[in-house]
């Protein structure tokens, strides 16, 4: 991880960290290997009937990398419409394929929590009680043991 002033700012004061009391929907990204998880909360606004992310926050059980990724990605997702948020998540997941799995897992968890929240919101347009969606990471931040 490159430690520069921008990264330190995110570590010292993570943007959008915390739960949201008046959120419309929540989504979870999880790493089943180590119990780490990210919860993303969305407040959805309407702009000419098109839903968009009016406010977003996140909480995490995870490492500093997860917090920095959450701070950066939630800041980018703010005020995007739902398609914009999906595009952001897809672009992030594509970028992560170029990183080693142990470095990619934390950011993947945040991206998946955002898309889980968006998907939960869309499901609830037809089924109000639809449960909060959880997506598990495909990468692992647990270093694999080398074959003997």
């Amino acid at each position: 991880m490159v430690v520069d002033d921008q990264l330190i700012e995110h570590m010292m004061s993570p943007k959008n960290y915390g739960s949201m009391e008046n959120s419309d929907v929540e989504g979870i990204g999880k790493n089943p290997d180590n119990g780490e998880k990210v919860a993303v909360y969305l407040k959805i606004g309407k702009d000419e009937d098109e839903p968009y992310i009016e406010d977003i926050s996140f909480q995490a059980i995870g490492c500093t990398t997860t917090i920095v990724a959450g701070s950066m990605l939630t800041e980018e997702a703010k005020e995007l419409n739902l398609n914009g948020a999906k595009n952001l998540v897809n672009a992030t997941l594509n970028l992560l394929t170029k990183l080693p799995p142990e470095e990619a897992a934390c950011s993947e968890m945040v991206a998946l929590a955002i898309i889980a929240a968006v998907d939960t919101y869309e499901k609830r347009q037809n089924e109000a009680d639809y449960p909060v969606i959880t997506y598990n990471v495909t990468q692992s931040c647990m270093p694999k043991e080398e074959d003997q």
Partner: protein, 273 residues
């Protein structure tokens, strides 16, 4: 009562952070006051537990980025006055009010200081670290400062909900140990110019359903923390034997934590067969 507990939690953290920022005789006083505010927080928590009410440790962010100590002291006084207005006339309310009156008098008479705890210079007095060692120390301090705060809250919550004296003795030792680590890491963070309030802890972490699994995971985490300390000691040893010795000292303290947690696990299993 729950709102009062949140306000005490926030005041405890702000007072502690002010203590880290100070480089004068104010430091010790501020840190002592923060310890007392933490105790107030736990006493109010006990009142809530006695009433069998649900609660969590959620709180609002505590902004601390200031250029002078007087700015944060004024903010702390405002918080203390808000707390004062929420207290009743029972023995506990009287005790906390009396402490707050004393705190406010002291805070009002403290000499001002320029605060360098947020300048991000990442330099330690009389120690010259390579870029690699500085980065390793930076990441370690962010990770472990949060971790120690998290552990204080987890053990405190478990202690508040347990009447098992053996477990509570172990939880109290672990709380005391985490306080020591939090204070040392917070102090180093302030010297490095990267002081930050630990983030809010998710309630799933302290509202533990499975104590056995929690203790097993905790032992694994302590082993990882030992490894982190050892790696950091290696990273800084070429530049500073003093820092390397400090991280070896912390590393060795983790051995006893692991032993205590194994004891707690054995005892809990024997009591809950």
């Amino acid at each position: 009562m729950k709102k009062l507990m949140i306000k005490l939690h926030e005041a405890w953290l702000e007072m502690l952070m002010a203590g880290f920022m100070s480089n004068s005789a104010n430091k010790e006083t501020l840190i002592d006051f923060s310890d007392i505010l933490f105790r107030h927080f736990t006493w109010i928590e006990n009142e809530i537990v006695n009433k069998r009410e649900d609660y969590n440790y959620n709180r609002t962010p505590v902004p601390i980025k200031v250029t002078n100590l007087h700015i944060i002291l004024k903010d702390i006084i405002k918080r203390l006055e808000e707390i004062e207005s929420m207290l009743g006339d029972d023995d506990l309310g009287f005790r906390i009010k009396s402490d707050i009156t004393y705190f406010k008098n002291n805070l009002n008479s403290m000499e001002d200081e320029e605060v360098k705890a947020f300048d991000m210079q990442r330099e330690l007095p009389d120690i010259s670290l390579t870029k690699e060692a500085t980065d390793a120390l930076t990441l370690f301090l962010f990770e472990e400062t949060y971790k120690e705060y998290e552990l204080i809250l987890i053990y405190n919550y478990l202690k508040a909900h347990s009447s098992d004296y053996y477990m509570n003795r172990i939880f109290q030792i672990l709380i005391d140990e985490s306080f020591f680590h939090l204070k040392r890491f917070g102090d180093l963070s302030a010297k490095m110019g990267i002081l930050a309030v630990p983030r809010v802890v998710m309630k799933e972490l302290y509202q533990v359903d499975d104590v056995i699994q929690f203790l097993k995971d905790g032992i694994d985490e302590e082993i990882i923390a030992k490894e982190e300390c050892r790696n950091l000691s290696d990273a800084v040893s070429k530049d500073s034997s003093e820092l390397a010795q400090f991280f070896d000292f912390i590393n060795n303290q983790e051995n006893y934590h692991i032993s205590l947690m194994r004891d707690a696990l054995k005892h809990y299993i024997s009591q809950n067969k």
